[in-house]
Amino acid sequence: MLQVRLHGRGGQGVVTAAEMLSLAAFLEGHFAQAFPSFGSERTGAPVVAYARIDDKEIRTHEPILEPDVVLVQDRTLLSVIDVFSGISPNGYAIINSADPAEQVVPELCKKLPKGHVLTVPATQFAMEKLKKPLPGAPMLSSLAAATDVFKLESVQKSFQTRYPGKVGDANAETAALAYNYLKEVIKGGANA
């Protein structure tokens, strides 16, 4: 089972991103589950959502304390809460930032295997195509690029299913930008 914890702020589509993550996995025939940390929803307040992917029925409904992957949609949370709490020693962390990972989270880079801590300018990509600071789709496609847990196309299809038409298509384009960016980083290319 792959367990993912998503951190962001109210209004950034964190809960939606978790749901779309589960839909992308479902579209590839996996069992998947997504749920929010049920707080009083307020714009700008820290929000946590969870997702699980497995090849058999997912029965547990406990919150995820030891994630295999942590996605941070808002960099300003890094100084506010311990977003990487309990992360698996072999886990992945992807942070929404234009700065290199070694600069953003140097301690974490030392802790996790090389190439497991990545940054991606997800908001920047979202502003380009979607014209809104909603980094969900590029964060999920970054996860796809980093782990191959599902394909870019499945992330795109999940957003296009939820938001048919222009919004879904813009999310799909944003996802492609981040996916290609991170694949390049992983290869050690231009963006590394």
Binding site: L23, A32, A34, F35, P36, F38, R59, T60, E62, P63
Partner: protein
């Protein structure tokens, strides 16, 4: 058909497949998404011949539901927490009138202090209301139980509360197999009310009953509850054969065959979390069974006695309690096991949304097998630091870390 959707949408789809004629509800978290979706189906025209009635309160929602059900129409509503309390007078009237209303309770704590999160205080507060109360362990179970609930309600002639854990299930996005309209139509025929209000042939329903007959009316109502036990079993069997889904039932056993030392009795979504933990414990050579209690009212005393069998110890994992008394499930289990040597205890946990982890279940099992449940009632997941930070200054009382038993609480008051 397989869908990856929110539990609330799954339940809304299930309700729509049952072709209700009236849906009336007032929004309250965490039930809101269910009725919002049903409302959308009515507006879009995917749920035909259904009036979705907006009202100004839960009291009105139940009142309208009573009116429409008395008028001979299949009726659905949903609520939670304070909303359920606000409609309580109507809740009792609906069962007294024998109206087969189906209502979702997206279980949530009751204030004050205000708390929007999940426990079972709301649904269990209506324990004696005369409604059937069916608890769901997963969203698939919730989808299926709603469809079964209409059939059970209409066959028995009593309303059914389908209790699903608020947020934990209602807001979880999962893989759900939603039956087809053809399957549901085959399973649930058009509602044929035995007696209903008709302006052309006026009758009176719910007239005053004096002391000469009130006891007998209640006795007849209780007979329906008793009949419901076999109806639930029969309808479950029929539904499982039709869909292949393993949902519903009076109770469901997991890993019970060889678990003679310990069984856990759990209601709701904690069952899934516990199943995973029980599998991990099995690898350590520890065999523990889980009895998922599905029907709380009527309470399946006989079926439970059989399920417990000759198990030495039973722990009821309870998510509500009775002030000034103890657990709510535990006394029922004791009744079922009267005359046996089975030890039965309550581990109270998961109040007001406090998460029940696999580690919580592991802790309960390890404590139980070490013989540490010496009393009937234990506050299992309580945080003594929080208590002590208040009690030390005000009363000079402190509690040690870990679970707190009933007698520790009593001694602290001396």
């Amino acid at each position: 058909m397989l869908n990856q959707i929110e539990g609330s949408l799954g339940v809304a789809k299930a309700v729509a497949l049952c072709r209700p004629g009236v849906v009336c509800a007032y929004p309250i978290s965490p039930q809101t998404h269910i009725v919002e979706n049903v409302g959308k189906f009515v507006k879009e025209g995917t749920l035909k011949q259904c009036d979705f009635i907006n009202v100004e309160s839960e009291f009105s929602a139940m009142s309208v539901s009573i009116g429409s059900s008395a008028g001979g129409v299949r009726t659905y509503t949903a609520t939670a927490s304070q909303g359920l309390l606000f409609m309580a007078e109507g809740v009792y009237n609906a069962s007294g009138l024998g109206l087969p209303i189906v209502m979702t309770v997206a279980s949530r704590a009751i204030g004050s202090p205000i708390n929007i999160w999940n426990d079972h205080t709301d649904s269990l507060s209506q324990r004696d209301s005369g409604w059937l109360q069916l608890f769901c362990e997963s969203n698939q179970d919730a989808v299926d139980t709603h469809i079964m609930a209409f059939k059970i309600a209409e066959e028995v002639g009593l309303p059914v509360m389908v209790c699903m854990d608020g947020f934990v299930l209602t807001h979880a996005f999962e893989r759900l197999d939603i039956p087809s309209q053809e399957e549901v139509d085959k399973f649930l025929p058009e509602y044929q009310p035995r007696e209903f209000l008709d302006p052309k042939e006026p009758i009176s329903m719910g007239a005053m009953v004096d002391p000469d007959a009130f006891t007998e009316v209640r006795f007849l109502q209780e007979r329906k509850m008793v009949k419901a036990l076999s109806v639930i079993e029969r309808v479950t069997k029929e539904y499982r054969e039709l869909t292949g889904h393993h949902s519903g039932g009076l109770l469901d056993c997991y890993n019970c065959d060889n678990a003679t030392d310990l069984k856990l009795i759990i209601m709701g979504s904690t069952v899934g979390t516990a199943k995973d933990e029980i599998d991990r414990l099995k690898k350590e050579g520890i065999n523990v069974g889980i009895i998922s209690l599905k029907s709380f009212r009527p309470f399946p005393y006989e079926a439970l006695k059989q399920a417990i069998g000759n198990t030495k110890q039973v722990i009821c994992v309870e998510r509500a309690f009775s002030f000034g008394a103890r657990g709510i499930i535990c006394p029922e289990v004791k009744r079922a096991m009267e005359g046996t040597n089975c030890e039965i205890h309550t581990a109270l946990c998961g109040l007001g949304g406090r998460a029940i982890y696999g580690s919580t279940i592991n802790g309960i099992v390890k404590q139980a097998l070490a013989g540490k449940f010496t009393e009937e009632f234990t506050w299992f997941d309580i945080n003594s630091n929080v208590l002590n930070s208040y009690l030390k200054d005000t009363e000079g009382v402190t509690f040690p870390q870990g679970p707190i038993t009933d007698s520790q609480l009593q001694n602290s008051c001396k």
